[in-house]
Symmetry: C2
Subunit: 342 residues, 2 copies
C-alpha cells in the first residue's frame, strides 16, 4: 500500500505497478496528450495506491518550465505586505502559477541574496517591492529572462513593468488637505528607516508642499524598533510636551498614528478641533478604534492583483504589456481626525 523504502517513488514505479510505459504515465499525470480512458484509470489508481508525488525538479529541468513566481518583499510583520500577497495569491490561484515569497528585511544586500537565490530556480516571473535596488540586483532583474514587476512605488525608473502609487504625490495630497483644513503648526512622526524609500518619498512630498505654502515642519521625530502602537503614544506625548502649540500630527504609518490617537483621546484633547491627526495605509485594524484616524489607502490589494495579472498575461504570450507602468491613485480618508476645510 505504501512506500516502505525511503527512496521517493518515481514515474518508473508507477509505470511498473500499472504496466504502462513511463511516457504514458507521465501523460496521464499531466492530463496531456491522448490517453485511453482505460489506461488513464489504471495509471491513476496505481499512482494513488503507491502515494506517488511527481518530482517537479526533474519535470522542470526537462520541460524548461517552472510554474513559480518569485515575490520579494521587505517584511511580513507590518500588515501591508500580507495584503499585497493575498492580492497576488487570489489572481494566481486560477492559473498554474504559484507564488514563492522571499523577505529582505529592508536590507539591499539581503535583497540581492534573496533575488539571486530565487532566480536560480528560474521562476516564470518576479514581483519585487520597491523601485530602488542595488546595481547588481538591477542587472539580475534585467537578465532574469522572465517578466519582472516592481511594485508599491512608481517614483523612479523601473527595470520592466511597474505597479504602484506615487508616494511623493501621496505626501503632497495629505499636505494639501491639512493646509486646506487650516492647520499650520505641523509635526511629523515616523520611522527611522533610511532604507524605507517609500516613507522617505512621502515625507519629501509632504514637506515640499508645506514649504510652497510657506509652512515649515514645526517638530519631527523618528523611532525604530518596539511596538508601533506604544511608540506612537510615547512619541506623541514627548512631542506635545516639547512643542505644545502643534495643531496637527502627521504619522508615517497608521499604527503609530493609532497610538497617538489613543493617547490624545485619553487626555481628552479635542480632535480634530484643537489638533488634527493623520496616518498612512488604511489598515483594517483602525476600524475598531474609538475614532477613525484620517489615512490614505495605499491600494495594497489592488497592487498585488494588477502585478500578478501582468505576469499571467505575459506568461500566456501577451508581450504587449512589457515595460508598462500602472500608477494607482490612493484615496484620502478624512476619518474623524482631519477637518474637511477651514
Amino acid at each position: 500500500m505504501t512506500n516502505r523504502t525511503k527512496r521517493p517513488l518515481t514515474l518508473r514505479d508507477v509505470s511498473e505497478a500499472s504496466g504502462v510505459s513511463e511516457m504514458t504515465v507521465s501523460r496521464v499525470l499531466r492530463n496531456k496528450g491522448d490517453v485511453s480512458e482505460a489506461t488513464r484509470q489504471r495509471v491513476q489508481e496505481a499512482a494513488k495506491r503507491l502515494g506517488y508525488v511527481p518530482n517537479k525538479i526533474a519535470g522542470a529541468l526537462a520541460s524548461q518550465r517552472v510554474n513559480l513566481v518569485a515575490v520579494i518583499i521587505p517584511s511580513l510583520g507590518n500588515m501591508v505586505f500580507p495584503e499585497v500577497l493575498s492580492g497576488i495569491s487570489d489572481v494566481l490561484a486560477n492559473t498554474s502559477l504559484q507564488p514563492v515569497v522571499g523577505v529582505t528585511d529592508y536590507l539591499p544586500e539581503k535583497e540581492e541574496k534573496v533575488l539571486f537565490e530565487m532566480l536560480s530556480w528560474r521562476p516564470s516571473g518576479v514581483i519585487i517591492a520597491g523601485i530602488e535596488h542595488t546595481e547588481a540586483s538591477r542587472a539580475m532583474l534585467r537578465q532574469a529572462g522572465c517578466p519582472v514587476v516592481e511594485i508599491m512605488d512608481v517614483d523612479g525608473e523601473p527595470v520592466d513593468s511597474c505597479v504602484g502609487i506615487s508616494h511623493r504625490r501621496a505626501g503632497r495630497k495629505m499636505a494639501e488637505a491639512i493646509i486646506d483644513a487650516g492647520y499650520r503648526r505641523i509635526g511629523f512622526l515616523g520611522t527611522k528607516m533610511p532604507l524605507d524609500h517609500r516613507a522617505r518619498k512621502r515625507f519629501e512630498g509632504f514637506t515640499r508642499t508645506l514649504a510652497k505654502a510657506g509652512i515649515e515642519i514645526a517638530d519631527q521625530e523618528f523611532y525604530s524598533g518596539g511596538s508601533a502602537l506604544a511608540k506612537g503614544r510615547e512619541m506623541t506625548e514627548a512631542m506635545l510636551k516639547r512643542t505644545p502649540d502643534l495643531d496637527f500630527l502627521y504619522y508615517s504609518n497608521d499604527m503609530i498614528g493609532a497610538g497617538g490617537l489613543l493617547y490624545l483621546i485619553e487626555k481628552g484633547v479635542d480632535i480634530p478641533g484643537k489638533i488634527g491627526l493623520a496616518g498612512f495605509n488604511g489598515v483594517e485594524l483602525l476600524d475598531g478604534l474609538p475614532r477613525r484616524l484620517a489615512t490614505m489607502d495605499a491600494c495594497r490589494r489592488e497592487i498585488g492583483e494588477r502585478a500578478a495579472q501582468i505576469l499571467v498575461d505575459r506568461h500566456q504570450g501577451a508581450g504587449a504589456t512589457e515595460g508598462q507602468t500602472i500608477e494607482l491613485t490612493p484615496t484620502l480618508d478624512y476619518g474623524d481626525t482631519l477637518r474637511r476645510s477651514s
Copy 2:
C-alpha cells in the same frame, strides 16, 4: 558584458569564457573540492562578468539534494504566523537551508494541495502548523522521505516530530486563574472557525475546567470576518447588553480582546473590578493600549526556532531527535485586566 540572448546562461558558457572545464567551474561556484587560487579567480571573474546565475533545478536533480524547507501555515494575516516564521528564518539563516512558505487558509483541502505541491519539490524538511490533517495529508507526510515537524499544538498524535503548546492546558490554566480571582459569571467570545483546532481546544480546556468548579459559561458568541478589533467591540457591547451581570470575558484572541477592552474603557467600566478580561497570544500590539490586556503567551517565536533547529540537526545526520515531541509552557500574563486572586 551582459547576456544579450534570452537563453539563460549555463555552466558551459562560464566554462568557455574562462577556459576551464565545466566540472571545475562547478567546484569553484560551490566552494567544493580543491581548486587553485588562480583558476578560482578566473572562473569567478568570468561568472560575474557574464552575470551567471546557477540553475538550482539541474543542481538539485543531479545532487538529489534540495536546500528547501517547506513551511505550511494557515494564514499570514494574524500576526502569529509571521512571528513563527521569523523564528524559523533566524535559525535557518546560519545554515544552507531556506524556508519556503505555503498558506492553507485553514482549509484542509487546500492544505492537501499545498503540501502535495511543496513535496513535489522534494524539500529537505517540512514544518507544518497543526496536528490535525486529512488522512491523505498524513500519508504524504509519512512518506515525504524527509523530517517533518508539526508545530503550535501538541494535543494529538504527531506524524514525526512536534513542537508546540497544549492548547487544552492553556485553556485550563486561564480558567483556573479566573476562578481563583473570584470571577463567576463568565462569557466567551471567539472566532467561528470550526477548523481552528487550537482555538477549539482552548475553549474545551476552558469550559471543562470551569465545569469541574461547577461553573458554566454564562454566555458565548462567535464571529467570522471583518476587523477583529471592531468585532471585539461590537460583540462585547452586544453580549453585555444581553447578559449584563457577566463579571469576566474570555476572548479567543488578543485582537478581539483589545476591541472589547477599548469599548469598556470608553464606557468607564471598572476593570478588573467590575469585570475582568483576558485574551490569548501575547501580541506585541497590546503594548500600546491604555491598559494591558491579560493574555497567555503562545511561545510563537520559540516554536519556530525549535522546529527549525530540529530540521537542522536532522539534516546533519543527528537522527536522535526523530519523532520527539517538545511541549513548551505558555506563561500567563495578568496585565491590568485580571485580578491576582480573590
